[in-house]
């Protein structure tokens, strides 16, 4: 396979800019859907009857966390590219940064979680804390000892403090790194200084990243059932995050290439590498998902097994079996093919597929808890504990489409702001000629 050797004559000297007229239609549509959906969602979250508000709080959490993982993943790949001093990814680095830059905006969709009107349906421990007469810790010590032991972590001020940290931390990180990167596009004397700065300011943010993916998972998802815990929860969420943000990156790069962008700099070799990363994280997800199940299954502790008991009740059981084959076996076998990973269109099909499986994964993380919790928190409104709330599915779709449209709008907006690849990066030619 003889490649045309890319030289500086092939690099767009003033950058490769997205033609805004070509994407304005998609962008406008996404914005309209996002605004209409948000209006409907605000109504369903705060003003509708309790019977609608309760189930929709879970729909919102599911959709919010799904798109949050994709944004966090964009930050992760940016950081990893910088700290590992990688050269292959320079031509797709801007896509990492653009995906990561959606983080602050997607995080805004988590703001409803700050309101007690929403929290009341999701986080039972907060209800217990709020209802406690007198000194909270003292009350818990006598009435809910488990929560008393967890009080140092699960208390309202600390929870709100962590919420602020999640939002500000990674937003500051990606804002700074993206600014550093895009400023080079117009620098008449681009050197290596920015690369070294980016590398330096990507090492400690990896800790911020790890804390964010782990503890948002603890606070927003694991907190749905305060009795339940899993030490593999953070890494489990991370596995899905890394895999599916790479899937989004593959889709964006394929889309940009189909419009004639990233010419000469992003080749089938880059898609091969990105496909290999998807393959690696498909396997990693399975490894972690199984390890989590295995530890819980073996130890057989009531507090831990509740997670799988709920998800193996009724039809959730079929979905859980489907997840094993759909999220692991199928993509594993498909992604083994080298030719497929080198073909952007084929890899994009797999990327769309893994994103669907990611939706199923997160649906199974958040939603089975709904029927159990609502029946437990407010039996006078929602009746007995049930496997699933009838009709609540439509709310899930509404929330997913709303935040999804907003995510699309923010991503396309970010793509249009700067050159689509770092055209003055000293390593752009090395990246363009990569071979593996």
């Amino acid at each position: 396979m003889a490649h045309h050797h890319v030289t500086s004559a092939d690099i767009a000297i003033n950058g490769d800019h997205l033609d805004s007229s070509k994407v304005s239609k998609v962008k406008r549509m996404a914005l309209i859907v996002a605004v209409l959906g948000s209006v409907a969602s605000i109504y369903l979250l705060f003003f509708a009857s309790e019977k609608l508000r309760g189930p929709f709080a879970y729909s919102w959490l599911f959709a919010f966390y799904y798109f949050l993982t994709l944004s966090i993943g964009g930050v992760f790949w940016t950081l990893l590219h910088n700290v590992s001093n990688s050269s292959w990814g320079t031509s797709v680095r801007r896509t990492f940064e653009n995906l990561g830059s959606t983080f602050p905006w997607v995080f805004l969709f988590g703001l409803p979680l700050l309101f007690p009107q929403v929290q009341v349906y999701l986080y039972e421990w907060m209800n217990i804390h709020r209802a406690a007469p007198g000194e909270v810790k003292e009350y818990l010590h006598h009435h809910e000892h488990l929560l008393s032991n967890k009080h140092w972590f699960m208390n309202l001020p600390f929870w709100y403090g962590r919420f602020a940290f999640y939002g500000i931390g990674l937003s500051a990180v990606i804002y700074g790194l993206r600014k550093l990167s895009t400023a080079q596009d117009t620098d008449p004397n681009p050197g290596t200084a920015r690369l070294l700065t980016a590398r330096y300011h990507s090492n400690y943010p990896l800790i911020i990243f790890a804390l964010t993916i782990t503890f948002t998972g603890f606070d927003f998802l694991m907190g749905l059932d305060y009795k339940w815990f899993s030490t593999m929860w953070g890494v489990y969420l991370f596995a899905g995050t890394a895999l599916n943000s790479m899937a989004v990156i593959v889709l964006v790069c394929t889309w940009l290439k189909s419009m004639g962008h990233l010419k000469h700099v992003t080749t089938s070799e880059h898609f091969h590498i990105m496909g290999k990363l998807m393959f690696a994280f498909t396997t990693f997800w399975a490894y972690i998902a199984f390890s989590q199940f295995f530890l819980i299954w073996y130890a057989n502790i009531t507090e831990e097994t509740s997670y799988f008991s709920i998800r193996n009740t009724g039809n959730w059981n079929i979905a859980m079996y489907f997840l094993v084959f759909g999220h692991f076996v199928v993509p594993f076998v498909v992604l083994l093919q080298a030719w497929l990973k080198k073909n952007p269109k084929m890899l994009s099909i797999v990327a769309v597929y893994t994103l669907c499986m990611h939706a199923l994964d997160h649906y199974l993380i958040t939603i089975p808890e709904r029927g159990v919790s609502l029946g437990h928190i407010k039996p006078e409104v929602f009746g007995d504990i049930q496997v699933a709330i009838p009709g609540a599915f439509w709310g899930d779709i509404l929330a997913f489409v709303t935040i999804g449209a907003a995510f699309l709008f923010i991503l396309i907006r970010a793509l249009g702001q700067h050159s689509l690849y770092p055209n003055r990066d000293p390593r752009i030619l090395e990246s363009a000629n990569v071979s593996n």
């Binding site: 396979m1 003889a2 071979s435 593996n436």
Partner: protein, 184 residues
């Protein structure tokens, strides 16, 4: 020993750099030769493409080797833990649904068998270990482990002709062209 019979192995030519070797390989590929090889002190990215190498069959060996490992481990664990001597732990059932307990060993044996298939399959395909190679008869070939880049075209290639092949090697930039003979 004038009675020693010799057999022509093929032509050996030196190239002055990795890129010269790469470009030479592309020309020999395009000329349609099959029995030939490149020798370099270090791996050269993309040389397999320049040589027109076909995809190795090794991955298929490894796939079936790995599957054999999975099946072996499952059979071993299932037979001993369920059929012959059921081990009841924490009143968990002893049947096919105990399979999660077998996953670690199934995983490990898959890796082990795959690893063995890679190693021994590769050694078989490249015909190693061997005691000698005809090219060792050439003195200049020693440089291949240090700073020399070589292409050798074997005489058993159907396209090989004594003069034509030598001229081709000279034409594409080969130097120190040598007819290598092996002792019969």
């Amino acid at each position: 020993m004038s009675t020693t019979r010799k057999r022509v192995y093929g032509y050996l030519a030196e190239f002055k750099s990795a890129s010269a070797l790469y470009k030479g390989a592309e020309k020999i590929r395009d000329a349609g030769f099959r029995k030939w090889d490149c020798y370099s002190p270090y791996p050269i990215h993309g040389l397999d493409g320049a040589m027109g190498m076909k995809r190795s069959i090794l991955p298929w060996f490894v796939f079936f080797g790995g599957m054999t490992g999975t099946a072996t481990a499952f059979a071993l664990a299932y037979t001993t833990q369920v059929v012959i001597y059921p081990t009841v732990v924490q009143s968990k059932p002893v049947n096919i649904f105990t399979v999660p307990a077998f996953f670690p060993i199934m995983f490990e044996l898959t890796i082990l068998f795959s690893g063995f298939t890679v190693l021994f399959g590769l050694l078989g395909l490249i015909q190693l270990p061997r005691l000698n190679h005809p090219l060792f008869a050439s003195d200049q070939f020693r440089k291949a482990t240090d700073d020399g880049f070589f292409i050798a075209i074997e005489a058993r290639d159907p396209k090989f002709t004594p003069n034509g092949t030598r001229d081709l090697l000279a034409e594409i930039g080969g130097a120190n062209i040598e007819l290598v003979e092996e002792e019969d």
